[in-house]
Symmetry: C2
Amino acid sequence: MTTDMWVNETLYPSWGQRFLVKRELARVRSEFQDIVIFESHEHGRVMLLDGVVQITEGDEFVYQEMLTHVPLLAHGSAANVLIIGAGDGGVLRRVLQHRNVTRAVMVEIDGEVIRLAKEFLPGIAGDAWVDPRAHVIVGDGIDYVRRATDASFDVIIVDSTDPIGVGEVLFTDEFYENCARILTVGGLVVNQCGVPFMQHDELHDTSIRRARFIPHVGAYVAAVPTYVGGYMTLGFAAKQPGLDAVPIETIRARATAAGIDGLTRYWTPQIHVGAFHLPPYIAQHLPGAI
Amino acid sequence: MTTDMWVNETLYPSWGQRFLVKRELARVRSEFQDIVIFESHEHGRVMLLDGVVQITEGDEFVYQEMLTHVPLLAHGSAANVLIIGAGDGGVLRRVLQHRNVTRAVMVEIDGEVIRLAKEFLPGIAGDAWVDPRAHVIVGDGIDYVRRATDASFDVIIVDSTDPIGVGEVLFTDEFYENCARILTVGGLVVNQCGVPFMQHDELHDTSIRRARFIPHVGAYVAAVPTYVGGYMTLGFAAKQPGLDAVPIETIRARATAAGIDGLTRYWTPQIHVGAFHLPPYIAQHLPGAI
């Protein structure tokens, strides 16, 4: 890929997005995947893993805010948060915006993603890497949840690739069983579930799997500009019922208490509450109501 | 374009979507624009106008439902509806699903779009073309609203291209002034306002223009899979305040009375109400609250 070449996303075989590349910044074959970072014309810097867009500077706020603020505010008093994946540090930064968080453990399997994000996408994580509450581990998320102490996390955020390649193990029975074990009694897990207009099996199959271990399973939506195909869904699985339907006044008060007022460009209390109301074309792929 | 070639959307200069073409069905240079219809692999048939995706069989329901059901149910007793553009007939079909509609006038400038949609996209309009309440006019929407009788329409739906090329006149002062004149006292107009992540000036500039003539101006969102770039906004301008905030129970009752229960795959009462709550990154481009 050289200057002023088009790069085509290869996620779907016969439809997708393309970017005109202003300048290629990195191209690395890590132990786990191909990593490419380039400067685009309209989205800032863009990172691809195995040819699939993971993040752009221009629209990362949509995905990161919804993947972070929704579970933390649905929980209401999350102090210990586990992040699996998310090597760019954007989720970590948002988790640490919440005052009541005392410990954020991030487990990313690919140290090269972290290294390249620090070098080429420093604004995504900001100062999160050096926050004393942050514990960044380069390691296998599957292995981490297997060894972690019972009931040690209030919220688990799984920011993985799709269930192909390196991310596949993060959608298995074993992974969810261990998540259930290490979650506190009021705990919940969220994870990215793809774009159901294109990948509806992903939402359906992984929701069924989550429900085996964490009973109150649902999903919420976010319109992410560069995860093309309409709404992306974020899977939501809680040990207790009702966390998908916390009243808006409660969500608003929790956001204020957490200190995130004015920090968001996509998330609002109204959008939080509304995101759980799925269009029928998406809802039909869920195994059942929460 | 031949079989198994990629077609690149040309809407934005350095980012966009592409489709692998299974078979080209039509390629016409009309008096107004280039019209291409092809069979895709994942979205059914696709229509492009001047290189920009207008409709795909796969996801047309999102845009059409939101462009139609939201204004008609926000109004509550719309009997006379004017549709400008929308030559594929999909909006006309949804308007006619409402039992209380007695007359739907559709004014499409390009007869070739209607002819090709009837031939190659017959499922989009279904039987709408022969409904006795439908009055389909091949003509200039600007001219139609100039000549129409005062206060003759409850809802005006403007399904135009972006404000470039043939659609540009549908975003002018003269057009909105005439819309205001021919709307009933409780009337409103909706129109597509582009994808603000990419085209935020479109929402901002056209909202200011609408507000000069129709005072209660706002917008709502829809996540349309093939209008790539996150949420698309639909402009909303009403003569009376509050039509953007009709209680959900009222919307639900109106939908049942209108006869659209069970006919939608994207629209629901919850999504209707939620769509008016804009993410801050979009809301900042509106001239003011409704």
